[in-house]
């Protein structure tokens, strides 16, 4: 059986001035010819001029960033169980392009703080966040990492945004995976609407870099050293 392929006669108006873009039928038929490989010459030029989206580079970059997110494989507490299930087939965050959890902060661009941050863990979390490359975003998942939650005591940091910038707070104890996905969608909206990916400029924090400005950072305070040496002396 012979398949007869011929150019569509709908293109006939192209001999004169180009048709109005609102001529949907013409554009449809032209696209079909393009797929067949039959479109060439001035018709091809006209088709591209009709169908290209004019935009700017930042928008394209942010569109790519928002829809191809690489979260960090990082769990802090019980919220991590809910966080793990968002990559499962039931919740399937691959629909939004964030299913590829990276095991290294150097390859990740989003960190989900899933659980309470104890004061001993806070420097660790901060270092991991600092190791991530810009642009980077952070989601604080659940009541504990947002405000301390039920752990209003001596051991837990009362809100992770005391020591690192957080873009999205997801409430819940723990939040259901749907809630986390909703928070992630909010983050995508935020990325699409914000052309500035550096968090210091995003949060008006230029000049707050703490590295190499004060050499005593990380050393215990004089009071702590005194208490520590006093306790050591009592040991005899």
């Amino acid at each position: 059986m012979e398949v007869k392929r011929e150019k569509l006669r709908a293109l006939a108006p192209l001999e004169g001035p180009p048709p109005a873009p609102s001529d949907l039928r013409v554009r449809q038929l032209r696209a079909r010819d393009l797929l067949r490989g039959d479109l060439e010459g001035p018709e091809l030029e006209a088709h591209i001029a009709d169908s290209m989206l004019t935009t700017n580079l930042d928008r394209v970059l942010n569109w790519g960033r928002a829809n191809s997110m690489f979260p960090l494989t990082f769990g802090l507490a019980c919220c991590a169980i809910e966080m793990m299930s968002i990559v499962s087939p039931r919740y399937d965050i691959a629909r939004f392009g964030a299913e590829n959890m990276r095991a290294s902060p150097r390859q990740a661009d989003m960190i989900i703080l899933s659980g309470r941050v104890s004061i001993k863990m806070a420097p660790v979390v901060r270092r991991i966040y600092d190791q991530m490359l810009e642009p980077k975003w952070a989601i604080s998942m659940g009541a504990c990492s947002s405000s301390g939650g039920m752990f209003a005591n001596y051991a837990v940091v009362q809100g992770a945004d005391k020591f690192m910038p957080v873009d999205i707070h997801v409430p819940g104890c723990p939040p259901r995976p749907e809630a986390l996905i909703y928070g992630f969608n909010k983050l995508q909206r935020m990325i699409l609407g914000n052309p500035d990916p550096g968090w210091r400029r995003r949060y008006n924090a230029d000049g707050t870099e703490e590295w190499a400005r004060d050499e005593t950072i990380g050393a215990p305070s004089a009071e702590a050293l005194e208490a520590y040496s006093a306790a050591r002396e009592r040991l005899g």
Binding site: I119, A152, A224
Partner: protein
């Protein structure tokens, strides 16, 4: 589990080994407890571990307690277990608060039970009870730069007040 007469027998024998080592006993909820003088704690533990017929060779747990309104303020509990007879015995050293900045002291049980190493560090970390003769007494769970003994009853709770409608007039708000 030594029953109540058995606990009294142990207490009598211990008093014979070192006079005044046992301050009291109690037996409730099926649990036997010896309250001992903290100065004699090593003699008591060694006798309970080595004497034929006792042989509590396993230290299941070591923990501290703060009974703040009570007179000997602190307690160090040694949960002993005889694995042959499956008998448990609690030894409680009643430690007073020396007051001021000085910390209560007790002998370390590491030489008798090596498992006491980390558990004594934990008691030191949270209650500030110093174990004399411990090989490496420093904080184990809290950061090493931490100041204070957080599980004591007079330690401030910490945290931040949460704004509800009933206290929104008193609690300072970050957005104002």
């Amino acid at each position: 589990m030594p029953d109540a007469p058995g606990l009294e027998l142990i207490s009598q024998e211990l008093d014979g080994v070192r006079a005044g080592s046992v301050l009291g006993t109690y037996h409730e909820h099926g649990q036997a407890c010896l309250i001992v003088d903290p100065e004699a704690i090593l003699d008591v533990l060694r006798w309970l571990r080595d004497t034929p017929g006792q042989e509590y060779r396993f230290l299941a747990s070591l923990h501290g307690v703060d009974y703040l309104p009570a007179a000997p303020r602190f307690g160090v509990h040694y949960e002993l277990l005889n694995m042959d007879r499956v008998e448990r015995l609690r030894v409680r050293a009643a430690l007073g608060d020396p007051g001021g900045d000085s910390l209560p002291q007790i002998d370390s049980a590491v030489e008798l039970f090596p498992t006491a190493d980390f558990q004594e560090r934990e008691v030191y970390d949270f209650f500030g009870i110093v174990f004399r003769g411990h090989p490496d007494l420093r904080r184990i769970l809290m950061p090493e730069t931490y100041v204070g003994w957080p599980q004591r009853r007079d330690f401030p709770m910490g945290g931040e007040p949460v704004v509800f409608t009933y206290n929104e007039r008193e609690v300072p708000r970050w957005f104002e």
